[in-house]
Amino acid sequence: MSDKGKNLVFGVIGAFALIVIVVGLAEGDSTAPTDAERVDALASSIKCPFCNGESLAESQSSVAAEYRVIITQRVADGATDDEVIDEFAANFGDSYILDTSTSRWSLALWLVPVLAIVGGASVVGWMYRSGKQRTKVTP
């Protein structure tokens, strides 16, 4: 096959596969998480008291195990994720909630890394441009 022909075949197949992916993903999340998955996600968003900074999901202490039972119970009772988090925040304090998305400190946490990547990219861009200028001066 000629190179052009190859390109055409690759292009068509690739485009078709891309469409399948985009359409498939756009249809979205069809499966709701199981209770155990929700318990795991919740437990990993709450810091365990007295556990060297581990979350309730990771700690193997009996305290953490008891709190996991409580979360399991609340999820089985039909509580939403936010309700469970709020209950723990009320009992433990906000500093035990590892998911900072509700905290007023959340914005800075996300903004600074984004600024770092923008800043870094600008430096690379500057390097590139000054390199270009130099080539113009001395061809």
């Binding site: 190859k6 390109n7 690759f10 197949i13 690739g14 078709f16 596969a17 891309l18 399948v20 992916i21 498939g24 993903l25 249809e27 979205g28 999340d29 499966t31 199981t34 155990a36 998955e37 318990v39 795991d40 990993s44 968003s45 810091k47 060297n52 900074g53 581990e54 979350s55 999901a57 990771e58 193997q60 202490s61 195990a65 996991r68 039972v69 906000d94 500093s95 035990y96 909630i97 590892l98 998911d99 900072t100 998305s101 905290s103 400190w105 946490l109 996300w110 600074v112 890394p113 770092a116 990547i117 870094g120 990219a121 690379v124 390097m127 590139y128 000054s130 390199g131 130099r134 080539t135």
Partner: protein, 680 residues
């Protein structure tokens, strides 16, 4: 007796380290390395002696030494006794010192005559050794004698070795978690070799800065050392992750715990450094950047030690519970401020005119990934320190954990993979779109088809699908490149493959590591995004179905082992129809003397498609609660990791000399693309 001898060895090592610094500075002009023979040898000898004495004391249960009384016991099995030497702070510093002394001695053997750079680098490394042995001689004396015994272990100890010592009846034994699996004996030494190994490029970098030797000599001299350190660091992290998965029972391998982050941070910057060093050696760019990266990597290894040793992580409120904390923090300050000051002072001379011909080139893509790796490191560091920063700034208490790190790292990691795939097959200077498309079209199509198949088979997580696309893209791109380079050679394809690999061990070792990284990324995505987690309650004899597997509670098991009491359950893992037994597992709870808390130990059945992971969640006897986790492709994480380590080792193979290469390329026409595949 052992205490006194050990203490003496530490002081001799300290003296030898000071000798290295003095002699190194004195002879840095003439570069007379023979003047360092005595102090480097004495340092190594004394470091070995102190380590051996500690081990002898441990094996003889010499509980009059406080460290031994508090970290080993009469019932500790031999392997964990031996590993007891690095089970806690003071002992691990002895191991650290030993590794450092070994590196210094090995570097000294390579320093030639009239080698001012090498001699000065040794002086810098000697200064680092002064710090560690000074720490052992003062704040963290591993041979401190016990002055007041508890019922087990030692309650109070004295720094001064001549006081009258007491001998506790039995020791406390190591932390139960540490004696639950043999990997714990391997994981710390590997990490230490990795951490300490970066002292070598750091030493050469600082020496080059002092001497004003800004070329790539220091990189040429250290590139194999950096690789060795990187390989050990990689292996150490992987084994730690494996231990966490196999032993801790929470069903994961990475928790974004500050201590884990502390090992990941220098890995990220070291990975960036290894790549940017190639760019400087090949293209002369990034001189200043390489100095910065190597200083950052070394500082982060100390920062990691500080985090693990100071008590900052146990509680974010108590800054430095141990005396070692402030000392380490002081060293950190010296390491960051000293070389950075030196760097800034020299920066006007270092800064050369940048010469990036095109953003689309090998160096351009490496630069992009350097940026991503650095931002990744910065993000992890920032997230880890954020609670401290916020508290210091406002008094508010916040916590940053898995939710943030997972969300932040996914986009960075996906971008890294994409750029890695393109950069791996790009030539230096300029990669035209036409050339890139030629080399990447098959990879692009294969990646997209794999992604489409994943979507069709019901995977609906965007990050998992993207990872599948990129994994297949990267692996195919590298394989296609290899095949096309081999094809362009005459003769037998098998022979040609061997020759291609042998000609460019650096490049192809790197590509193996890239393939390993892509496989690991796939496993991280599948085990994270497609796992099934279920909690089942079973009466004896009952079965439950989880994700197509049938688990049956057979019977409770309990037994007494020399160092622990085991109480577990026997569980059969069967296929979905509950007929064929795939595996019989025994998740259990171990109770160690000296600790009331039972340590859960999971049991894992590893399959080609899925791992079935069982951990006891509660209940006992007749009725138990069992966590049943199913992790798709978990084995690929460990296999991918092994490929990464193998690739790193392969990259260390010396390149055949020019002459040798010429001899077998003269008969045939050396393909023009060959030089483009090469990385150096």
């Amino acid at each position: 007796m052992i205490a006194l001898a050990g203490y003496l060895a530490i002081f001799i090592a300290l003296g030898a380290a000071i000798g290295i610094v003095i002699q190194g500075i004195r002879y840095s002009r003439t570069g007379d390395a023979s003047k360092l023979r005595l102090p480097t040898s004495v340092l190594l000898g004394a470091a070995i002696t102190s380590f051996v004495l500690l081990e002898i004391g441990i094996l003889n249960s010499e509980f009059s030494i406080a460290y031994i009384a508090n970290n080993t016991s009469l019932t500790t099995p031999l392997l964990f006794l031996f590993a007891g030497a690095w089970a806690a702070l003071e002992g691990s510093i002895v191991l650290w010192g030993l590794v450092l002394a070994g590196f210094i001695w090995l570097v000294w053997r390579q320093v030639g005559d009239n080698d001012g750079l090498g001699v000065l680098a040794l002086a810098v490394m000697g200064a680092v050794a002064v710090f560690w042995f000074g720490l052992m001689a003062t704040a963290a004396n591993p041979f401190a004698v016990c002055t007041q015994a508890g019922s087990i272990g030692c309650v109070d100890s004295s720094w001064w070795p001549f006081v009258e010592s007491v001998m506790p009846v039995d020791g406390r034994g190591p932390n139960p978690l540490l004696q639950n699996n043999f990997m714990m004996a391997v994981h710390p030494p590997l990490l230490y070799i990795g951490y300490v190994g970066f002292t070598v490029p750091f030493g050469f970098a600082v020496a080059a800065l002092i001497r004003g030797d800004f070329g790539h000599t220091w990189l040429d001299r250290t590139h194999r050392w950096s690789l060795i350190a990187w390989v050990f660091l990689t292996a150490g992290i992987l084994i730690g992750a494996w231990w966490s998965y196999e032993v801790l029972g929470w069903g994961g391998y990475w928790a974004w715990d500050p201590v884990e982050n502390a090992s990941f941070l220098p890995w990220l910057t070291a990975t960036a450094f290894i790549h940017s060093a190639i760019v400087q050696r090949r293209r002369g760019m990034l001189q200043a950047w390489n100095f910065l990266l190597v200083i950052a990597t070394f500082a982060l290894t100390i920062f990691g030690t500080f985090l693990t040793r100071s008590g900052v992580i146990a509680s974010v409120h108590a800054f430095s519970q141990s005396v070692v904390g402030p000392v380490l923090l002081g060293l950190l300050a010296v390491i960051v401020i000293g070389p950075l000051g030196l760097f800034i002072w020299r920066s006007a001379e270092i800064a050369q005119v940048p010469r990036l011909d095109s953003l689309s080139s090998r160096e351009g893509y490496i630069l992009a990934n350097n940026l991503l790796l650095s931002v990744f490191a910065f993000t992890v560091l920032f997230g880890t320190m954020y609670p401290l920063l916020v508290e210091a700034a406002s008094g508010d208490e916040v916590a940053v954990g898995r939710p943030f790190f997972d969300k932040a790292s996914i986009p960075i990691a996906l971008l890294l993979l994409l750029v890695l795939g393109i950069g791996a097959v790009s030539p230096w200077r300029v990669a035209t779109p036409k050339l890139l498309w030629e080399r990447l079209r098959l990879a692009t199509v294969v990646g997209l088809i794999a992604g489409a198949l994943a979507v069709v088979s019901g995977i609906d997580s965007t990050s998992v699908v993207l990872t599948i696309v990129l994994t297949f893209f990267v692996v195919t791109a590298i394989v296609v490149r290899f095949v096309s380079v081999v094809r362009s050679r005459p003769g037998s394809k098998i022979k040609a493959s061997g020759k291609v690999l042998r000609n460019e061990p650096g490049y192809w070792g790197g590509q193996m590591a890239h393939v390993g990284i892509a496989l690991m990324a796939l496993a991280i995505a599948t085990t994270g995004g497609l796992a099934t987690r279920s909690l089942v309650a079973l009466n004896q004899g009952e079965t439950a179905i989880v994700a197509g597997y049938c688990v049956r509670y057979v019977e409770p098991v309990s037994r007494v082992e020399p160092n622990r009491t085991v109480s577990g359950v026997k569980v059969e893992v069967m296929d979905g129809s509950c007929t064929d037994v795939i595996d019989t597992l025994e998740p259990r709870l171990n109770t160690y003397p000296g600790s009331s808390q039972a340590i859960g130990t999971p049991a894992v059945s590893t399959g080609f498609v899925n791992d079935v992971y069982l951990a006891i969640a509660g209940g006992s006897g007749e009725r138990i609660e069992l966590n049943v986790f199913v992790f798709p492709l978990q084995w690929l994480l460990w296999a991918g990791g092994a490929v990464v380590v193998f690739g790193g080792l392969f990259a260390m193979i010396p390149k055949p000399s020019r002459q040798h290469r010429g001899s077998y390329s003269s008969g045939s026409t050396e393909p023009a693309v060959e030089s483009e595949a090469s990385d150096e």
